[in-house]
Amino acid sequence: MVDLTINLGFIKLRNPIITASGTFGYGLEFSPFLDLREIGAIIVKGLYFNEREGNPPPRIFETPCGMLNSIGLQGIGVKKFAEEILPKLTDYGVPIIVNVCGEEDDEYARVVEFLSSKKGISCFELNISCPNVRKDGKCPAISPEWTYNIVKLVKQSTKKPVITKLSPNVTDITEIAISAEEAGTDGISLINTILGMAVDIETRKPRLGNVFGGLSGPAIKPIALRMVYQVVNTVKVPVIGIGGIFKGVDALEFLIVGAKAVQVGTANLIDPLAPLRILNEIKDFCEKKGITKIEDIIGTLKVGD
């Protein structure tokens, strides 16, 4: 028996597998396929305060070992979420994390204020890193000050723990991580998608209605892993690794460089059983190696000889 529990300090997880925002719907979509209860935590699709239309299609384009998306955070808004989704989702008894969005800095505060009073939400993940909302792909997570301000504001607006989700589209990821930590974030998750584009040579049009989109999937894993490693070595708050995790070995790489948990994203779209399959692969690895506690793997990278 392998002890798979993870203590992030502000929350205890049954296991280190979390489903990434935007790739797992509102959770319920996956209940025909797997027992949601067995997942470490579920992060729901990013929520703005109000309902939101998202970007014009095409919104998805496949690239080598990856995909571009420019969904643009279409969603139902906090009220509908609290009324129609949350009650059903809490029934499953799985920790629920809400991915929080905002067009203005202020909106982040309004979202967490509104939702803080609702039962069943474990913590918030601040999506300050979505490349699909503005045409130029800019977002708060590309600036240390902007990041600091939003995290600070949100921390003042809720007593619940807050995870800040960082963008890879930066020169120095550690600088942003430090800002988030200084502003009081309880945890850091990374990476969100990498800004990219593709062109249809027949029509000479961009493949996405929004021109730019976010790259995700196995293609980006090496970049994600590097950034997670850099951030783990910079901040003290727990770090959650995201990016191209499709198999147990991928998750293990992130844990070894020091992530305390991981999020499974694009993999869910292809294999709705991915979170539990990956979990089982981790379990098998531990059993084979005689590892009795998953936490014993975290941060065990051997650098130098």
Binding site: T23, G25, P57, I60, E62, G75, N268, I270, D271
Partner: protein, 259 residues
């Protein structure tokens, strides 16, 4: 909705058109016309995403898919051999609405190119329920109409059209439709699947003739199970909004589609 590793038990190829029969009990049992499956064509990361295919036909414990080879995924799929397994999810989406009182009612089923795929299953179901399906089946040229015989074998009326006149009506399927409407105009409903531009033209004709119509829309799917918001199409529902084609469609009423 099931994830299944379905065995390929039959395969036919006509140049770039492929018919695969798959053994998949649970999916076959629940499938309705207009629903689809999502197939993972290999277990590599390239191509990454599943590909959507309409459920073309259902018989005891089996489904068929019928597709055109257009790119990397369909090429790999076309190279599969009988006996191999294919990982699929299905049945997905909401299918065509055939009301209970089908008896003796007349329907036009209009399929352009690969759009014919879901209409075979639909025609069979309508016929079984005592309705009268008339299939319009259009393509560029004769060799793109490999399913004609299949319809004949089921004794389903099918009217082919080809743009180059090599078979059936010489011209566009939309013209054939207008022509046929003159012959037979007590139509209960039309069901349409095909290229966007074709469906748009059909929709104009249907509106002019005040015909009830349903269209199976295509868009690029990320997941097929309603998780990613990738597949949206614009509908008029209260107000204009982007609606997921995979889980709320792919079949939508002509009344709500914004072309």
């Amino acid at each position: 909705m099931f994830v299944d590793s379905a065995q390929i038990i039959g395969k036919k190829i006509w140049s770039d058109w492929v018919l695969l029969s798959l053994k998949t009990y649970k999916i076959a049992e629940q499938a309705r016309p207009g629903q689809f499956i999502m197939a993972k064509v290999n277990d590599s990361f390239h191509p990454l995403l599943r590909r959507p295919f309409s459920i073309h036909n259902v018989s005891s414990g089996e489904i068929e898919i019928f597709f055109q080879i257009v790119g990397i995924g369909t090429t790999i799929l076309s190279e599969k051999k009988v006996g191999e397994k294919l990982n699929i999810i299905g049945p997905l989406g909401k299918g065509f609405n055939i009301t209970s009182s089908v008896q003796n009612k007349e329907y036009y089923l209009i399929g352009g190119g690969r759009g014919i795929a879901p209409l075979f299953f639909l025609a069979k179901e309508i016929k079984k329920a005592g309705g009268k399906p008339y299939v319009l089946y259009g393509a560029k040229t004769e060799k793109d109409l490999p399913l004609l015989k299949k319809f004949w074998d089921e004794e389903i009326q099918v009217y082919p059209s080809t743009e180059d006149g090599t078979l059936g009506w010489h011209g566009l399927i939309t013209e054939l439709f207008e022509h046929k409407l003159k012959e037979r105009n007590k139509i209960e409903k039309i069901f349409v699947c095909g290229p966007h531009e074709m469906m748009k033209k059909i929709a104009l004709i249907a509106e002019k003739n005040k015909l009830d119509a349903e269209y199976s829309l295509e868009s690029i799917f990320g997941c097929g199970i309603g998780a990613c918001w990738g597949c949206v199409v614009k509908l008029r529902r209260e107000k204009e909004k982007w609606v997921k084609a995979c889980s709320e469609g792919p079949v939508f009423s002509g009344k709500e589609i914004i072309w």
